[in-house]
Symmetry: C2
Subunit: 269 residues, 2 copies
């Protein structure tokens, strides 16, 4: 199965930023619960919208979402600040998913923390050269990251390398580059891949259609994890369809079950 | 661009069978016009529903649809009877698409007719052994068909080899097998591929979702032609999305144009 990281609790989204600022517990609990019920395996928590109080915000989110979901869901700690990451992870009751590390030298200490704590880790396929352009760039950065992580004791099964999806609006080669990277990383490196799906459609109209279509292509390429909005029902239906179509859903039972549940909810569709 | 063969004028569909029996010209003209306006490059004509009068039905369909669309669209002559095929093709004003030949010996004379007349040809990737099971089977049958066709003077640019899509309901490996065949035929044989998309979902609920998701996967694999219902708007929107996502739609202009046209028609979606 695809590991689904629910992306909605992110304070750069204006309603979440307001809820975080107001400490609106009800709103955050609802977002966590909805994503969990829609199929998220990991609930990502990002308080980076107000950088001066990021740690404080993140600690509050951890407390609320742990209380809401208990051990039913894994938390994802989403920050670019290594110091905030370390403190937030220490505050989690169970080992969270670390989102994210990369080949940048500033992230190296985090790899050791992930190994010590037994965290699942999202690693970005990028390093000091900045954003990757081609599939080759992504495969090379993934190989380097895999080596760094295994050398520091991270179980390779716990590593999900984000193949850095960028919008096709500004560069039409980027959708194909990340797709090809997913396939090649699976075939050449046997390490898990992950993509933050909605980046592909940034700046274009009809984003949800593009996002769900891209998710299907990624599933066919062998994707292992995705950062997405699990409450988007058409997206989740497309995921089930893609799994049936590429032969990873035995007897299409996952697809059929999902279809029946949708019909029970919305008989008209 | 994907070559789109509109599948709706097929007398095995009950409303079309009735319209053909009643010689309901208005109904057939509307189906031809609707498919043409929705983006079909070829209007497939199949009168095989009543086999005893197939040729007569097909000649009538040809007359009506040629009169309706003139030279705006290519006709597709869809019959499994070589004698009916020869006579129907002789009746067409312009060279139609021949649907279909295969590696079965009974189809060999048709290859020469296609070469003489300069028809585009759909060739099924199957022969005396019956339906292919694996991608290997499909690639081998495609190579054999390509050889037969070129030896008999068919321009390889005119050949679209149907990779025989079967339902994932009865065998979950079949979706992946045809997908892999499309990719391999493009890479190994450089011959055009085509798929009759809706076969993949036969026997399953939510067929339109499966069909459009599969079309996206096929486009990413390098498909050149598809037999489908071009009046299915979500299917055509997914086709445009897939083209933008895999980098074959420069500046995403095809996708953006299609989105704008959809919005103008149905502002709510």
């Amino acid at each position: 199965m695809l590991r689904i990281v629910g992306e909605l609790i992110n304070s750069t989204r204006s309603r979440v930023g307001s809820a975080l600022a107001a400490r609106d517990e009800t709103f955050i609990r609802r977002l966590a619960r909805d994503q969990h019920e829609a199929g998220a395996d990991v609930i990502d928590l990002n308080a980076g919208g107000s950088t001066d109080r990021e740690l404080e915000g993140l600690l509050w989110l951890i407390e609320i979402v742990e209380d809401e979901l208990g051990t039913d869901a894994c938390l994802g700690i989403d920050t670019s600040d290594p110091d905030v990451m370390e403190k937030a992870i220490a505050a989690c009751s169970a080992a969270p998913m670390m989102n994210s590390i990369s080949n940048e030298p500033s992230k190296l200490p985090l790899i050791e923390i992930a190994a010590d704590r037994g965290c699942d880790v999202i690693g970005l396929a990028m390093g000091e050269k900045g954003m990757p352009k081609t599939a080759d760039d992504r495969v090379a950065e993934t190989a380097a990251l895999l080596e760094k992580c295994t050398a520091r004791g991270v179980d390779p099964e716990r590593l999900y390398v984000d193949q850095i999806c960028m919008s096709v609006a500004s560069d039409t080669t980027q959708g194909r580059a990340a797709l090809d990277a997913v396939r090649r990383v699976r075939d050449e490196l046997a390490v898990k891949t992950l993509v933050a799906v909605s980046n592909v459609s940034f700046g274009l109209p009809g984003r949800r259609l593009l996002n769900r279509t891209y998710l299907a292509l990624l599933v066919a390429a062998g994707l292992d994890g995705a950062i997405l909005d699990p409450t988007d029902r058409e997206l989740m239906a497309t995921l089930c369809a893609a799994r049936a179509l590429v032969g990873v859903d035995e007897y299409c039972m996952g697809y059929i079950g999902h279809h029946r549940a949708s019909q029970a909810r919305e008989p008209s569709t």
